[in-house]
């Protein structure tokens, strides 16, 4: 059957109207645009709703609990990744800079790369993998087992109860973990560049001190706050609306929501990184 039904017979004397144009690519693009628009709008409302309920004294115990889960429990993995990222940076940059006789700038290159870009981005991705996926799965299970419905029947706002403390904890934890990543990364660069490859230690530390500006640190923190908002909102949103998925049901929908939460978070971290960087520079 045609998707553009026309009258079986045109009225006599009437001029033929415009023929419908069937461009599947354009229609698909239009549908994607509408869906994207609706999703972004829903995410924004979800974020604002949760953010508005963050600051309440009854949230404090749960916020502390979530800081422990998102922050403290992620610290070791973030430190480990930060250390090896710094080591790889030190290793690569020593070889590259040697070609230009600029090894003395190793500290500058390592510190600025980490503080401005790699620290916030990799920290956010690590937290997404460790805590974001867990959030999506936990909230998803609560949704399919009617625990979220139970909250509604008890007059407890599910967004305030489940999402707001996580958002608050994310906003506290992301910058702190980013700072840990940066510091350990700089240490890793020192180990590989200075201790293993023989770059000058004093030069490495002096260049960091001389080249890293407060605006660099602030920029990194701004990014980590933006990423916190993105990661927590996307992961909680995916779990919260698990039951509305049309591609699966039950536990399968939880697993797909968790996958979507991680993938979308990573993609939006990188998109947001570009946007925020372009504003900061």
């Amino acid at each position: 059957m045609s998707r553009h039904p026309l009258p079986a017979e045109a009225p006599e004397g009437a001029s033929p109207g415009p023929r419908p144009v069937d461009l599947p690519g354009v229609s698909a693009l239009g549908r994607f645009g509408l869906r994207l628009n609706a999703s972004l709008g829903a995410l924004a409302i979800f974020f604002l709703h949760a953010a508005a309920r963050m600051l309440h004294w009854k949230q404090i115990p749960e916020i502390v609990h979530q800081i422990y889960f998102i922050g403290a429990k992620s610290a070791s993995i973030v430190a480990l990744v930060g250390f090896f990222t710094g080591m790889v940076l030190g290793l690569q940059l020593v070889y590259v800079m040697n070609k230009f006789g600029a090894v003395g700038f190793l500290g500058t290159a390592v510190a600025l790369s980490l503080i401005r870009e790699l620290g916030p981005v990799l920290t956010a991705i690590m937290i997404t993998a460790r805590a974001g996926s867990a959030m999506a799965a936990e909230i998803g299970i609560q949704r399919i087992s009617e625990q979220i419905d139970a909250l509604q029947t008890m007059r407890i706002d599910p967004l305030g109860f489940l999402v707001s403390p996580r958002l608050a904890a994310g906003l506290v934890s992301f910058p702190i973990l980013t700072a840990i990543f940066d510091l350990i990364g700089i240490l890793g660069g020192y180990v590989s560049g200075v201790i293993l490859l023989g770059a000058n230690a004093g030069s490495y530390l002096y260049r960091i001190d001389a080249s890293v500006d407060w605006s660099d640190v602030r920029g990194g923190f701004i990014k980590s706050l933006v990423f916190a908002g993105i990661v927590i909102t996307i992961c909680c949103f995916q779990g919260f609306f698990t039951h509305l998925r049309t591609d699966s049901h039950g536990s399968k929908s939880v697993s797909l929501s968790t996958t979507s939460a991680v993938v979308l978070s990573c993609v939006w971290i990188l998109i947001a990184d570009y946007v925020v960087t372009s504003f900061l520079l």
Binding site: K58, E138, I141, Q142, S145, E146, Q147, D149, A150, Q152, T153, M154, R155, I156, F161
Partner: protein, 415 residues
């Protein structure tokens, strides 16, 4: 003057995709009453409750609370309405990362300004009432399904709600706890005067605490009335009730409890016309008191149990139903039988009993008494014709009057 309903459904329609679950459902729930919704699985009972609590919205029709449509309520009105209602979910919906105590205390912690000690006191009171004290600090996954159900019940009642919606509160409970939960609902209703809406498959147990019954059938309300009025309910669902009553017979003995017997009688003959008849048989174990006194209560009970099992299974196979009327007396009803037919069935029973049942009974009896003791017992039977219009007690009395010995046992010898 007609009472104003507390909650009223008017032609409510609910569809999930192509499937219509509620197809113009209309009913009323009155304040201070226990209303039970019964129906087959998948007929929309839980969906109906979820409309009341606002978890689902109707596609068409209207739900009213004290005459005000829920759809037109302001935010403040809605909050006040929801604040009066509590909902116990069919699958409990307990928070699996919280202990039983934390689950029960949660509504108080999040929606009231009560001091911590008062919250603890109220939550623990409900936990004690539902016999969960020992597992109060365990997680839902560490306790049995029945305990989880009771934890959900405790959570539903902890805020002292005015209206409680129970979605199968007794499913998965053992018979003692099932009765305890129904008793608790009845007692709580008496004490607080709350309104309860129950979904239950525990027929006829729920009838004893219900003021009104709603039967959901094929997306519509097929019956709305009192449990007594259900007797005249002429509908295919009635057959389902009868079947469920048959399942209530104690599997081992084949004998109904007195309550279930009366309910079965009511369901079979409650709407019967004056022409319908049944035969009633009375069996008595004549010297049960003497055995109880002279031998042992256990000997009397075990022998009676064996007799009840034999009677229950024998007459159950031909459509009869039996109960234990007094300590040494069993009553059997053979629906739609006249005296002639009943006499033939009884004769077959006596022949079978003398050949097979009595030796088994004697063996049971001998097992309970010392070998040197010698004791007699005798069994009598009487019958009478009954009609729905005649009081059951009168028919029983009449059957007792015509009792005659059908079997006896004397010191190891059959007579």
């Amino acid at each position: 003057m007609e009472r104003t309903p507390l909650i009223e459904f008017r032609n409510v329609v609910k569809r999930f995709g192509e499937r219509t679950i509620l197809d113009g459902v209309s009913f009323r729930i009155y304040e201070g009453e226990v209303t039970t919704i019964i129906g087959l699985s998948g007929t929309g009972k839980s969906v109906t409750l979820k409309h009341i609590i606002g978890l689902l919205r109707p596609d068409a029709g209207e739900i009213r609370y004290r005459g005000t449509p829920l759809q037109t309520m302001s935010r403040a009105q809605w909050d006040a309405y929801i604040g009066r209602i509590s909902y116990m979910f069919q699958n409990n919906a307990l928070f699996d990362a919280m202990t039983v105590y934390e689950n029960v205390a949660l509504p108080l912690k999040r929606t009231t300004r009560l001091p911590r000690r008062e919250i603890e006191r109220r939550a623990m009171a409900r936990i004690e009432q539902t016999e969960l004290t020992e597992v109060a600090h365990k997680y839902p996954s560490e306790i049995s399904g029945g305990m989880q159900k009771r934890a959900a019940l405790a959570r539903a009642l902890v805020t002292d709600p005015q209206v409680v919606l129970f979605d199968e509160p007794t499913t998965g409970q053992d018979p003692i706890r099932k009765n305890a939960i129904l008793g608790m609902i009845a007692e709580y209703k008496k004490k607080v005067g709350f309104t309860a809406v129950l979904i239950s498959h525990e027929i006829p147990d729920v009838f004893f605490i219900s003021n009104r019954i709603l039967v959901l059938w094929d997306g519509r309300i097929a019956f709305e009335g009192t449990p007594e009025e259900m007797a005249s309910f002429d509908h295919p669902f009635r057959d389902e009730i009868l079947r469920s009553l048959q399942n209530l017979r104690e599997d081992i003995t084949g004998v109904y409890s007195t309550r279930h017997f009366k309910m079965r009688y009511q369901t079979e003959f409650g709407r019967g016309g004056p022409e319908e008849t049944y035969a009633l048989l009375v069996f008595s174990f004549d010297n049960v008191d003497e055995i109880d006194r002279e031998v042992s209560p256990r000997a009397a009970q075990e022998t009676l149990r064996a007799l009840g099992t034999y009677i229950g299974k024998h007459f159950g196979a031909v459509g009869g139903f039996t109960t234990r009327q007094t300590i040494g007396e069993f009553i059997t009803i053979l629906p739609f039988s006249d005296l002639e037919e009943a006499r033939r069935i009884l004769e077959r029973f006596v022949a079978d009993f003398q050949g097979e049942g009595l030796p088994r009974l004697a063996e049971e009896f001998r097992r309970e008494i010392p070998p040197e003791r010698c004791f007699d017992f005798a069994i009598s039977a009487g019958m009478a014709q009954g009609k729905p219009l005649i009081e059951l007690e009168s028919v029983i009395e009449f059957a007792r009057y015509g009792k005659q010995p059908i079997a006896a046992f004397s010191c190891g010898l059959r007579r």
